[in-house]
């Protein structure tokens, strides 16, 4: 895929606080990229710099081979779906969607055709004359998407667009957005703090924290091979431990040594270790690699969430078999379930 956008060492300072600490990121054509991180991590700031609503303190933004830092937002081939949609309250659905085309002085027929096509794409045929203020959140969302896409931008920016919707609608829109992206075939840059949303929709996830990129990768990479403790903790539920690499394929934590599949660390290198709750099984004591007492068990619908206390810590375990509280059990996991990461301060 062709490279479309490149952020080169982007630094942003607000009143003496560094919000972005040197971001380097390449985004390709036709890619669905998600900027994922907790609030305040700088993801929206990065998006607004690309949209042209903020200017960076340092660094370059290269778009389609050209440095665009001094290009005003209205001259960028980028459109945005805003967090709370920012629909024009004094215009109906049609005029909202037609706004960008009207500005470009396209002729009436073309505008009508394009708007109608967009309404069809987002499933709002027949809503042309509806005042936007009288629409539901989900419908407003669709209008906002249509209003941006009708301008045929090379990139669509989406700033937590589903945040204001209820859970069921959010799930629906996730699929729909992915479908729309595949249909129109342009780059989507999506900002969210919801890891599930990121995992569902993205081709590439960029995990951010404290103004820095923590990891860039596909959803499976990010979930299965978190590069550091932050990513592991932020994506999904985890049991996180500190330990040391004894040798290649041998890791030690909680006073036990375990076989693992990682190598290439220096001897006794301090590492962080992740065990996903769903990768741990509860087995009879004598078959377990670790042992502990069941503290609690909650039925979660598909699985039980069981907390087992060992002499060192509490493990969270997701399993379909229940275990009685107070019972001593063994914990079992396979070498490939142990994810090992260099330890960094965070």
């Amino acid at each position: 895929m062709r490279q479309l956008i490149e952020f080169k060492n982007i630094v942003k300072e607000f009143n003496g606080t560094l919000v972005l600490k040197g971001i380097n990121l390449v985004i390709h054509e036709n890619e669905f990229v998600t900027l994922l991180g907790p609030s305040g991590c700088g993801k929206t700031t990065l998006l607004r710099i690309l949209g042209g609503f903020l200017s960076q303190t340092e660094g370059e933004v290269i778009f389609d081979g050209i440095e665009i830092s001094n290009v005003p937002p209205y001259k960028r081939e980028i459109n945005t779906v805003f967090q709370r949609y920012a629909l024009f309250p004094h215009m109906n659905v049609f005029d909202n969607i037609a706004f960008g085309l009207n500005i470009k002085k396209q002729d009436k027929n073309t505008i009508k055709q394009k708007v109608t096509r967009m309404l069809k794409l987002v499933g709002l045929e027949g809503y042309e004359d509806r005042p936007v203020t009288l629409m539901s959140g989900g419908q407003q969302q669709r209008v906002a998407i249509a209003r941006a896409l009708v301008n045929e931008p090379m990139v669509l920016l989406l700033d937590e667009p589903l945040g204001a919707l209820d859970l069921k609608l959010r799930k629906e829109m996730q699929h729909e957005l992915k479908k729309i992206q595949q249909e129109v075939g342009i780059t989507f840059i999506y900002v969210t703090h919801d890891q599930e949303e990121a995992l569902t929709m993205s081709d590439t996830i960029v995990v951010m924290n404290n103004g820095e990129i923590q990891q860039i990768g596909t959803p499976t990479d990010i979930y299965n091979e978190p590069e550091n403790r932050f990513v592991a903790d932020f994506i999904g539920e985890s049991n996180l431990m500190e330990g040391n690499m004894v040798a290649d394929y041998r890791v030690r934590f909680d006073d036990h040594e375990f076989e693992c599949i990682d190598s290439g660390f220096s001897d006794m290198a301090p590492v962080d270790i992740v065990l996903r709750p769903e990768d741990i099984d509860i087995v009879p004591v004598e078959m377990g690699k670790l042992r502990g007492i069941v503290q609690s068990s909650l039925f979660k619908g598909v699985h039980f969430e069981i907390v087992v206390e060992t002499p060192y810590r509490e493990f969270i375990i997701h399993t379909t078999d229940n275990a009685a509280i107070g019972q001593e059990v063994g914990l079992h996991f396979f070498p490939e379930d142990i994810h090992i990461m260099y330890r960094i301060g965070y």
């Binding site: 042209g52 200017s55 937002p73």
Partner: protein, 266 residues
């Protein structure tokens, strides 16, 4: 990306121009209250003689007295009546609520002069002699609707279950009122009271029509005296401006300072 240097200059000029327009007349009025001569245009040196004259002028001192007494009493009464009525309105049936709010809007929407002559006709029909009492009653009448209007939104923002909760926990209605409702709407009550005070303090039109028998507040006095140029009026005006400005600054800056303190504490 917006705002070239030229545009910034235009903005600064606009703002400076309008502020000059607002404040220059008041400033010149205040400056010439310290003039050593009678002139309001040429400076003859600093003096406080007009302030001395002001404080030695019986009529002026009595006007200040009338203004303050009427303002304080009418503020107190209209705040109490307005707050209790607002609480009553918020718990009333829709018909009564709308009736009161609509009638209440009359003196607010009507030109002051109409309210003023209405009251003047009322007092004369009841054969009440015009004086300080009529002025006080009139001030209470025109302030109360504003207090109600200021307090009502606070009551709307209140959780409707909160009074029930208080009574469920054993409070009598009076206790619920005093210990739960009033403290929660206090900011509204205070701004209502300040509004009532400044309106009464500054009022001219209504006082002018309903008072008589030599009872004058500051505004009436300024009105009757200002036909001739008179630096004592400047002195009096200066005092009024200073008082109102200080009150406004306190009201506006206190919340800001508090916010800062809270932020500092975090």
């Amino acid at each position: 990306m917006v705002g070239s240097k030229r545009r910034t200059w235009i903005r600064v000029l606009l703002i400076a121009g309008v502020l000059l327009f607002f404040y220059a007349p008041i400033a010149s009025l205040m400056v010439f209250s310290f003039n050593d001569s009678r002139s309001l245009t040429s400076w003859a040196g600093f003096s406080t003689q007009w302030y001395t004259a002001l404080f030695n002028n019986r009529e002026m001192m009595s006007a200040i007295y009338v203004t303050l007494v009427v303002a304080l009493l009418s503020t107190f009464v209209s705040t109490v009546v307005g707050t209790l009525t607002a609480i009553g309105i918020s718990k009333s049936r829709k018909i009564i609520r709308e009736l009161i709010i609509n009638v209440n809007n009359f003196p607010i929407l009507n030109p002051e002069i109409v309210t003023a002559i209405g009251l003047m006709l009322l007092f004369s029909s009841l054969s009440i002699e015009k004086g300080m009492l009529t002025m006080l009653v009139a001030h209470i009448i025109f302030s109360t609707p504003y207090v109600i209007l200021t307090v009502l939104p606070k009551l709307r923002g209140l959780d409707p279950d909160i009074t029930e909760a208080a009574m469920d926990l054993g409070a009598t209605p009076a206790q619920a009122l005093w210990k739960v409702i009033i403290p929660l709407i206090m900011p509204g009550v205070i701004s209502g009271a300040l509004l009532a005070f400044t309106m009464s303090f500054d009022d001219f039109v209504i006082s002018y029509f309903v008072s008589g028998n030599g009872v004058k507040n500051i505004s009436i006095l300024v009105y009757t005296m200002s036909k001739r140029i008179n630096p004592t009026i400047n002195a009096l005006s200066t005092i009024l401006v200073v008082i109102i400005t200080v009150v406004l600054l306190i009201v506006n800056l206190l919340p800001m300072l508090k916010k800062k303190e809270l932020r500092g504490a975090e």
